[in-house]
């Protein structure tokens, strides 16, 4: 990835970045109020994410402060006497989403970030997703490399515990690499059929 000004990636700091990124994707698909976006986010990411509506309001405010979303007070559809804030993308939203797609964040590897990207990815993001998946695969392999195997014979209790921890890490990383490989394969297959 070419070097990008820190200003443009500032919004990607913090643990809620996957949700902020996914919100940008949803805003680009169509504008919405906080509740609507929270529902769409929950539907898109699945039950395991536990999307909290209050969190979504807070994240939308953050995105507005950074200039990646803009809100307007609009009448509610079923009650015109009352209003609510509807969030819209700005001129910078699309570029920010593109940048997020190709950025492996310092907190990764955690699949959640990539999962959020996949949930709102546009077809034109396919090359960036492939890059991100390869980078993720590489990060997982590098983590695996840090966990040097210990000799399994004549073990002490401590060695046994260490070995089991190593086993847990390797099993987890293997699943992650498999998932990244499978997803790359599926995207490549899709692109081939498109040609």
């Amino acid at each position: 990835m070419a070097s990008v000004s820190p200003e443009k990636t500032r919004w990607m700091r913090g643990p809620s970045t996957p949700l902020r990124g996914a919100l940008l994707g949803l805003l680009l698909e169509r504008p919405g109020h906080g509740g609507d976006l929270a529902n769409r986010l929950a539907a898109r990411l699945g039950e395991t994410w536990r999307v909290d509506t209050n969190d979504v309001y807070r994240l939308l405010e953050q995105l507005e402060k950074t200039g990646l979303a803009v809100s307007r007070d609009e009448p509610k559809r079923n009650n015109h006497r009352r209003t609510h804030l509807v969030y819209y993308p700005t001129d910078e939203t699309s570029e920010a989403l593109t940048l997020w797609m190709e950025t492996l964040l310092p907190r990764e590897p955690v699949r959640l970030g990539l999962q959020a990207k996949l949930s709102v990815a546009r077809e034109q993001d396919a090359p960036r997703l492939l890059q991100a998946l390869k980078a993720y695969e590489r990060e997982c392999l590098m983590l695996a490399q840090l966990v040097t195997p210990i000799d399994s014979r004549g073990r002490s209790w401590t060695a046994l515990c260490l070995d089991s921890t190593r086993d847990a890490v390797f099993s987890q990383l293997q699943i992650e690499v498999q998932w990244a490989q499978r997803t790359r394969g599926r995207i490549n297959e899709f692109l081939e059929h498109r040609q």
């Binding site: 590489r138 086993d167 390797f170």
Partner: protein, 247 residues
């Protein structure tokens, strides 16, 4: 410095009925002498194809593979045979073959026929490597066919080590459901390669099996992802934490 083994834009395809399967797609990598590399991939991901290309058993459709600077594609079949016999050892229990009734010791010793050794010298060297891979004295006169798969894998390793190759290639060599035996085999493999400063290229569909190698690679959809940038394989500095646990 010329790398021991290099792949430059190597592609390999197979026909599967009407479909063309792209097993490797412009893969480039370099392996320096004395470095261990672990290749991880699911079944049918192209691991064995990459290893067989590295050993000169099959040739690429595109790109070039060089061993000590020599292009493998330019070699005659005889030259490639000599390469595989003298400088590269290929361990694969899938390709295991022994003469009926052949003992473990003879299986290893007779493979040294091309080395210009007397039978006594060959047996002595065979004994040494069999001991190194922990094949007990009680098993060496047993017929090969009587061995369990884990033991057989260690005999295959001994046979490869006896040739003192520059590059040891191991293709899912320890196909055993017992994870303890598998760990033991891979520890022996890494230890023997490190002690001899021999390059090691090993592949497995279990990520844990390739743990402890200096460079890890994964293969899928014809592409290789490496822990080393641009897939150039160079030794990594050992971690202090690993030393603490007797590694």
């Amino acid at each position: 410095m010329t790398p021991l083994l290099s792949f430059a834009n190597v592609s390999k395809r197979y026909n599967d009925g009407d479909r063309v399967i792209r097993v490797l797609d412009h893969v480039s990598l370099e392996l320096e002498a004395g470095v261990s590399v672990g290749l991880y991939g699911a079944r049918r991901s192209g691991k064995s194809t990459l290893l067989r290309l590295a050993a000169g058993i099959t040739l690429p459709d595109e790109g070039s593979i060089r061993f000590e600077g020599r292009d493998i594609s330019d070699m005659s079949g005889r030259e490639r045979g000599r390469l595989l016999r003298d400088e590269i050892a290929f361990v694969s229990t899938a390709d295991w073959r022994a003469n009926p009734g052949e003992s473990v010791l003879d299986h290893v010793a007779t493979s040294l026929g091309s080395k210009g050794l007397t039978m006594r010298e060959a047996r002595r060297r065979a004994l040494r490597v069999l001991e190194e891979v922990e094949i007990g004295a009680g098993s060496i006169e047993e017929p090969m066919s009587s061995l369990a798969s884990a033991e057989r894998a260690r005999v295959m390793l001994a046979r490869a080590l006896a040739h003192e190759p520059l590059l040891l290639i191991a293709d899912e060599a320890a196909l055993t459901p017992n994870s303890g035996e598998r760990d033991r085999f891979y520890a022996l493999l890494r230890g023997a390669a490190a002690e001899r400063r021999m390059a090691l290229l090993m592949a497995s569909e279990v990520l844990e099996a390739i743990g402890g190698t200096q460079v890890m690679m994964s293969i899928a959809a014809g592409e290789v992802v490496s822990t080393e940038a641009r897939a150039t394989v160079v030794p990594l500095t050992r971690r202090v934490g690993a030393e603490r646990f007797g590694q």
